[in-house]
Amino acid sequence: MRYVFKKCGTMLLTLIVVSLCLFIAFWLISGDPATHILGTGATPERLQALREELGLNAPLFVRYFRWLKGFLTGDLGTSYVYSLPVRDLLASKIPVTFFLAVFSFVLVCLIGIPLGLYTGRHAGGRADKIIMVCNQVIMSIPPFFSGILISWVFGMILHLFAPGGYVPFSKSAPAFFSYMIFPAIAIALPRAAMTAKLLRGSILEEAGKDYTRTAYSRGNTVNGVLFHHVFKNAFLPVLTFLGMSLANMLAGSLVVERVFNIPGMSNTLLTSIGNRDYPVVLAAVMWIAFVIIVINLAVDLLYRVLDPRTAQE
């Protein structure tokens, strides 16, 4: 329990450091939000007035502490471009990305783990060889390409969904789900392939260890050894990878959101960077940092549950 509190403290500190770095980064890169909003034809007086209004004239640290104070009290500021509170703006985006990530993650687990188990169990067999070749191919296809391929095959040829025709959950839940399956597959496929390969390798490594021999000497079957002994040991490195994957997916898959025209976080982030809409960018990056830290913490905790050796300090 003390460990969790300590970790949460570190988490808050990390978030603050991340936000400070971002502020400095924005200060260093050129680009004036006021010019961006009003256009290059605007008079200097109007630009100056808008800068004053947005609070851009204050020194860097004043601006930072103003933002930090808002952040800690739950106020993320107002979007320069949309003139909407950032919180309301992102509140509609995060659930979309969140759903896509969780959906993809479930697919990764459902495809990757059984495949890894099967190929690890039957390593060297014909099925294993075929699966590993397919794996290699799938792993080397970038998501934007598989996204386009999926849109083309399932959308244009098989007419299973309308590419680009995103339907919000609030409008029609079934339409939303049946649309989201395809981007989720595009995100999940390469990661599922990696999970399978990683688990297979890990199983083969564990299968050569002494405790496996002990397990056989007690009269275990091959499956008995695999499921009662090897799997849990072999799963540990895979857990780290799955955690990283989930964090990445929650942070948003930019390419897939673009290809499938999904109004998620990544799309918003990219647009806002182009618009120099700093409050939105800041909030989005804070979300990403938050997600990565939380998932890391969760993986750490899970590790401690699964592997008693790590719990010993």
Binding site: K209, D210, Y211, R213, T214, A215, Y216, S217, R218, G219, N220, T221, G224, H229, K232, N233, L306, D307, P308, R309, Q312
Partner: protein
């Protein structure tokens, strides 16, 4: 030892060859011996003499397809080299058990001691209830010299010392009361005082549980302390065998003499 003894294991013309090179490599060559009930038989030899391979073959732990095995290993009227897998598995852990050289890595790091102690019972004695298994595990742990068995039952291997882990291995291997315990260099990885304790424990298992022990070692002084009979192996062949004292007092082969002379003597 002149009474008619019951033979429980008979090894006839055991030959093991590796085929991963162009010319087959014969690591065990025409090995013959018998193990009697409640006997401790030592197999000594240098590394590479084929003693561990023979032990693994008897325990059914060699991959049959990876190397060629010939001859027969008769246990309970069954040839362990040719019988079907299921039959072999029904003996493993229940009638024939094995402990290994490395107690540090021979236990599953993620399973509690108690769970590993009970594994042979879970596999071979499905009729036992959870409570019965637990009681047996606690009794066995106490019998192999693990104090505070209830507490140890819930601990993990990394929390135990090497000597304790080897005791756990011995307990787990003998919990189902096997007829044969194969001990492959069980004390090599342990320091000397622990070594002596483990040897004493094996002797106790042999007497109390009436378990025959096949004791594989390169350490002749340990073999002399523990074993009733001894086999000396060199390059896959048996070069000498007999009652331990006789072999040690009157070694016939120069190889055996050299091995015995290599034992460091403590002079005061």
């Amino acid at each position: 030892m002149d009474r008619k003894e019951e033979v429980i294991l008979e090894v006839n013309h055991l030959t093991i060859e590796f085929h991963d090179h162009d010319t087959p490599e014969r690591v065990v060559d025409d090995v013959n011996f018998v193990l009697h009930k409640q006997e401790i038989l030592g197999i000594v030899g240098e590394s590479g003499s084929g003693k561990s391979m023979s032990a693994l073959a008897i325990a059914g732990l060699l991959k049959r397809h990876a190397l060629s095995l010939s001859g027969e290993i008769l246990f309970d009227g069954t040839d362990l080299l040719t019988c079907d897998r299921e039959r072999l598995r029904s003996y493993q852990g229940d009638e024939i058990s094995m402990i290994f050289q490395e107690p540090m890595t021979s236990l599953n790091p993620l399973q509690r001691i108690g769970h590993q102690m009970e594994e042979c019972l879970r596999i071979h004695h499905k009729e036992m209830t959870k409570k019965e298994r637990y009681d047996r595990a606690i009794r066995t742990m106490t019998a192999v010299g693990l104090d505070d068995a209830e507490k140890l039952y819930r601990m993990y291997p990394h929390e135990l010392s090497g000597g304790m882990r080897q005791r756990v291995m011995i307990g787990a291997a003998t919990i189902a009361r096997p007829k044969i315990l194969i001990a492959d260099e069980p004390t090599t990885a342990l320091d000397v005082t622990i070594q002596a304790q483990i040897i004493a424990l094996l002797r106790k298992v042999n007497v109390k549980r009436e378990t025959a022990i096949l004791f594989i070692s390169h350490d002749l002084s340990l073999v002399r302390q523990l074993c009733h009979k001894v086999i000396v192996m060199q390059k896959g062949r048996i070069v000498e065998s007999g009652i331990t004292e006789e072999v040690f007092e009157h070694p016939e082969q120069p190889y055996t003499q050299a091995l015995i002379e290599a034992i460091p003597k403590v002079e005061l």
